[in-house]
Amino acid sequence: MSIRTRNWLLLAPAGTLFLALLIVPLTVVLVFSFGERAPAGGVVPAFTLEQYANLPARWTAFKNTLTLAPIGTLAALLIAYPLAYFLAVRADPRWKTILLILVIVPFWTSILIRSYAWIFLLGGRGLPALLEWIGIDGVRLINTPFAVLVGIVYGYLPLMVFPIYVSLERLDKRLLEASSDLGAPPWRTFLQVTLPLSVPGIATGCMLVFILLMGEFLIPAMLGGGKVFFVGNALVDLFLQSRNWAYGSAVAVALVVIMLITVTVYMRLLNRLGASRDDVAIM
């Protein structure tokens, strides 16, 4: 068997899955997006750009998603970094495994159930009642964009913690000592050595969280009380409520395109950042 044949054979399972679960469905969505809604719902094949012309009608959904997704990603990063740093650098090795498992444990329960827990925590008899007890009245948490943000950060935190943890874990501790020996105070060592070296972890974590947030629909529906409308919610309504598959497909295609552009720009920026750092290293 030639190497070529063997390579193809080894690629076959992944390739088949890729074709069946990604290429084919995406093609169907693309074809649907040029169709029209059948009178009783569904889709009739056609070639019209009408669905794309209607996209501005979902502008608010796109705007909400494109606002909350970066904010959510940033918030998750700010909370996850110190935690990952602690786990990778400071934590007692004996406890490390247990602490890591504790980060994963919530993943063993469905996000739906965990979001329900937040409904009670943020509802009138949860945190607001506690705040009232200590004298802060009239705080409304549930069904606000803030509640959605809390849910998002909570739900996706482990996805941010782990990549950063891995990059910090592999960090060569001798570099930190060298920095210290050369007279850098800890904050400077952190900013000039630790942080730049953990950029790959940050980049991966942000990308994972951001992509998932762009498609999110469950958390805004549950913690936003249906008042915070994401593209994901628009899609659920279009497919399962008004059954406008053609328009739903166009919205889905638009979302995919926006994600592709965002991710491409993001990768370019990262590469450039990486390249400039290499230059510095050579100097």
Partner: protein
């Protein structure tokens, strides 16, 4: 075991109602939100197939029947009795909206044998050729004369019977009288005005265009079913003005009403009944302007894989004894006179289940076009994203 009760005492009724309430965690909204509509409760399927099957009086109808229905809408004991009597296990798929059921049937390959559509969807199912005309010879328990035609009419399309009535109900609203300052609410006008005034941040509307837009139309005295552009524009303005004052847009209103976060919400009969039974300060109101009345049916999709079992299940559920237990479990009225004879007087006189005649006559049945009108769907999307 099949327990046949001729008459159900008040105490038993309260027990049944309590049981229903305890099981009320799964809700329409929960399913809507997951988008899955597939909180599938499998009732001991598979295993009986491995065992030697005993002979059943009704003949062999197979080992299972798949039912697509709504949350908290049946008495599980009835299903156990059905299995006991026929050998077929009831496998239940629970749904969040009529649209979702329609979407699934349109996509095909559901595997359902029996499902529970609401009155205004049936002509659409017939038009799309998705359900089969019922063979009444296989439904000996179905007595058309026993039904109030108001609640059984929609089951027939062009003189052919496609669906038999399950139960009916109304769409009104619940209000917590502890917060109204002694004022008694009676109209949709008050519902919306209060929302934008003293109830700001305390009102919920359904995540369902049919009822939310319909009840906004009632503010102006328009038809619940209107698809008139100008009238819809008025309703849209009202909805957008009211939105900042809403606590939530969600069909899962019971928890928020119960814990006091929300003081008022659009509601269906059964939820109104349950809330009022636990918290007497919660009142179920039907707007004097009118609103929605609806009726749910049993139907058989085309190509049902266990057709015999489907008919056997519908026939079983139409048995007045069985149906009476169903009513006690789900808390919605039935239009079947035979079943009503078996129900306690207190239930038949309950003003939530059986509203006063003048309130009832003002109500409208939803129309097929109300559900499928693209302008109403877009209006709802604009309201939700505003």
């Amino acid at each position: 075991m099949t327990k046949v009760t001729d008459h159900i005492s008040k105490q038993k009724f309260m027990e049944e109602l309590n049981r229903f309430r305890k099981g009320s965690i799964t809700r329409r909204h929960f399913l809507n939100v997951t988008g899955l509509g597939a909180a599938t409760a499998v009732m001991g399927a598979a295993i009986p197939g491995l065992l030697t099957r005993p002979a059943f009086a009704a003949g062999d109808i197979g080992d299972r029947v798949i039912l697509a229905t709504w949350p908290n809408y049946h008495d599980p004991a009835n299903f156990e009795a059905f299995t006991e009597a026929t050998g077929a296990h009831v496998q239940m798929n629970v749904f969040g909206s009529n649209e979702e059921m329609l979407a699934k049937l349109q996509a095909g390959g559901t595997g359902w044998d029996v499902f529970v559509p609401t009155n205004y969807t049936i002509t659409t199912y017939v038009g799309e050729d998705l359900i089969e005309p019922l063979d009444t010879s296989m439904l000996p328990n179905y007595d058309p004369a026993a039904y109030d035609p108001r609640f059984s009419d929609a089951g027939s399309v062009d003189g052919k019977l496609y669906a038999v009535p399950k139960d009916w109900g109304t769409t009104g609203y619940v209000v917590n009288n502890n917060h109204t300052g002694g004022k008694k609410l009676t109209s949709w006008k008050e519902f919306w005005d209060m929302t934008m005034d003293s109830f700001s941040g305390r009102t919920m509307v359904h995540d369902y265009q049919l009822t939310t837009i319909g009840n906004a139309l009632k503010y102006f005295g328009y038809s619940f079913n209107s698809i008139d552009e100008k009238e819809l524009a008025d309703a849209e303005k009202l909805l957008i003005d009211a939105k900042p004052h809403l606590f939530a847009i969600s069909s899962d209103y019971q928890p928020s009403i119960r814990n006091g976060d929300a003081w008022m919400s659009m509601a269906w009969t059964g939820d109104g009944k349950q809330l009022n039974a636990d918290m007497p300060e919660i009142e179920y109101v039907l707007g004097v302007e009118g609103g929605e009345i609806w009726s749910d049916y049993y139907a058989v999709p085309k190509g049902a894989p266990h057709r015999d079992a489907a008919y056997a299940l519908i026939n079983f559920l139409l048995d007045p004894q069985v149906n009476a237990r169903e009513v006690l479990a789900h808390g919605y009225p039935t239009a079947d006179a035979h079943t009503n004879k078996l129900l306690p007087e207190s239930l038949l006189n309950d003003p939530i289940l059986y509203p006063a005649k003048e309130l009832l006559t003002a109500l409208e049945f939803g129309a097929a076009v109300t559900l499928t009108d693209p302008n109403r769907a877009e209006l709802m999307a604009r309201f939700k994203s505003a």
